[in-house]
Symmetry: C2
Subunit: 364 residues, 2 copies
């Protein structure tokens, strides 16, 4: 049985900073999500419905007391479900974490500020025999890998899921691609690169942004190689971070070059105009044609677009979809509306080509 966990969001559940919570509400292979503690506003509602999922039920509670009263299982963990800019622990969340420790619930956090460094939480945990896990605490140097060219031995097709900016649904899209492939007889795996991926499943992957820069390419290659060798998948989906031209911290070329992702599913948010989740001073987001051209200069090809449609009406969504299909000639997916089936012919064709390549390599 999976351990049970409550997500702590304290009023942030519908904001962009609650990405971790959204991911775990959508899917979690590691934990049984028993509910979300978010305050009065949405108490009693279904968190899955609130974030646009059509099926399933995850209850929202006003506070810990309510959550414990209404849960028929023992709660093992409280997971900090928000990642505010700057990565500090919000004080209103710390209050709930203290209550959790007092109720015998262990803590997990993906924040930059390590909750395991807060003396009051540490001593409370010690008194009650609970654990505090900071997912972003860096891996020890001796356990990190340098890039050494092993990536060229990978047999699976590697597809990076990229987008020009943060908060566009890269992890969710990668997860959905994996699930859709697997339910259609294609052996698909995912290599995650963020803390939510670890929480959701996390057999293969690492937290890219806490990794010393010199080891990022080596860790990417290590996890893709390990996934390939151990599971012999047809295809590996690689979760992207940030965006190739995001000024606050560009990322993506490592996935294309160091992790060997020769193919890309590209998220696009047509209603968003500026980087930094629509911050005009950060500069305009690139046009889709320019992003495809940039990816091509890295030696990789975009095989499909996936539209991030937050803030769009149904008419806008269908207009955007038509426009982007015409502009790029690529399949344009609507993950949350239509799922991922439309990409399957493209993926099957990539896998066939890859098999032929590998067969050719053996006979020559």
């Amino acid at each position: 049985m999976k351990p049970t966990a409550l997500l702590i969001t304290q009023g942030q559940l519908t904001g962009n900073s609650a990405k971790t919570a959204h991911g775990l509400i959508r899917s979690s292979g590691r934990f049984e999500i028993a509910g979300v503690i978010d305050g009065e506003r949405y108490a009693g509602k279904n968190a899955r419905a609130l974030i646009g999922e059509r099926t399933g039920y995850v209850p929202i509670y006003a506070n810990l007391e309510q959550a414990l009263e209404n849960s028929d299982q023992k709660i093992d963990y409280a997971i900090v479900g928000v990642a505010p800019k700057g990565g500090r622990l919000p004080s209103e969340i710390k209050v709930v974490l203290r209550e959790c420790l007092q109720q015998g619930i262990s803590l997990i956090s993906g924040l930059h500020e390590f909750i395991g460094d807060a003396p009051d939480l540490v001593s409370l945990a010690r008194e009650n025999g609970q654990t505090i896990t900071d997912i972003r605490r860096p891996v020890e140097r001796k356990d990190l890998h340098f890039w050494d060219g092993s990536i060229f031995r990978v047999r699976a097709t590697v597809v990076a899921v990229l987008g020009p900016d943060t908060n566009m649904g890269k992890r969710t899209t990668a997860n959905m691609l994996r699930e859709t492939c697997n339910s259609h007889g294609i052996r698909a795996e995912m290599v995650f690169t963020g803390q939510t991926g670890w929480l959701q499943d996390g057999r293969y992957g690492f937290v890219l942004d806490t990794t010393p820069n010199d080891f990022v390419s080596g860790e990417l290659a290590y996890w893709v190689c390990k996934c390939d060798e151990e599971t012999h998948p047809d295809i590996i989906f690689l979760e992207g971070q940030s965006g190739l031209r995001n000024p606050s911290g560009p990322c993506g070329s490592e996935l294309l070059l160091s992790a060997g992702a020769k193919h890309v599913v590209l998220l696009f948010s047509p209603a968003r105009r500026y980087f930094g989740d629509n911050n005009p001073t950060w500069g305009e987001l690139p046009a889709v044609e320019s992003e495809i051209a940039l990816i091509r200069l890295y030696g990789s090809e975009v095989i499909a677009l996936a539209l991030h449609t937050k803030g769009c009406s149904e008419t806008e969504i269908s207009d955007y979809r038509r426009e982007y299909t015409e502009r790029t000639g690529l399949p344009v997916l609507l993950p949350l509306q239509n799922g991922m089936e439309e990409i399957l012919p493209v993926i099957s064709s990539l896998i066939r080509t890859r098999r032929q390549e590998l067969a050719g390599r053996q006979t020559t």
Copy 2:
């Protein structure tokens, strides 16, 4: 008076792994370089001449004993002058480091493997009252900076010195650009991004590759902003690392986007064909036109090429220069042969344009 230092290279002095030594032999604002300990082969020769410098003298010694006999000053530091692939401390260098500690000389290293973690060196240092400094030891998280958009307030012209691969002379070129500008009345500064930069001068900069990935862009912006605010320079040269498409760890887009380098001096090594210092399995180096196009997609312009001419005859050098001038229409510099003067008109024009921009911003 600057502290004195010996460089320890133990037979590696002419190899690519001795980049740190080469940099310090060329110029050092932080230390007085008293000599190089490299073994018998070049003992008695001039290290500056050996690496292609036309003036100045830095003696090469066979061993520590010879160095101490021939130095008229007390030696303060021994600096590990090599950075082998993988970053481990070579055993033949460790032997010399032990001897140094026994002679009352403190140690400095830029290796990935921290020499301050070697119990025998630590206890020797403690016995003799010496210090051990590992430049790559990561900065504490509380002292790191997130990117916050402050970079848009920088007034100086920022020029990144990039190249498609490692070991092409990016740091040396940046240093020479700064010196040439300053000697012609242009107030120029440099922001370094590697450990040798710290050793050479290092008022502004940090060691990029030991920095957790999420803080790289913030640290770049922090140091460029700090340099701009404290010294009010006309121009800042920003040392590049690796190469934009180097599969072993791409780097460069952070400098263009997060550090605001709208201009680039691009190193090129026409005699080199493959990444990884000519490793065919790593793939072919891009054509210069493709690298310029890639930089343009990041919103920046290449203002000059600088040729890395190791392994080329004089005829080849002049042929390559003509070819690259014709292919790109850009000034093509030969840093080690002709110096940097030819770029001065371009730089003066950039600075003039920048002044007009800033004046326009104030009046509107």
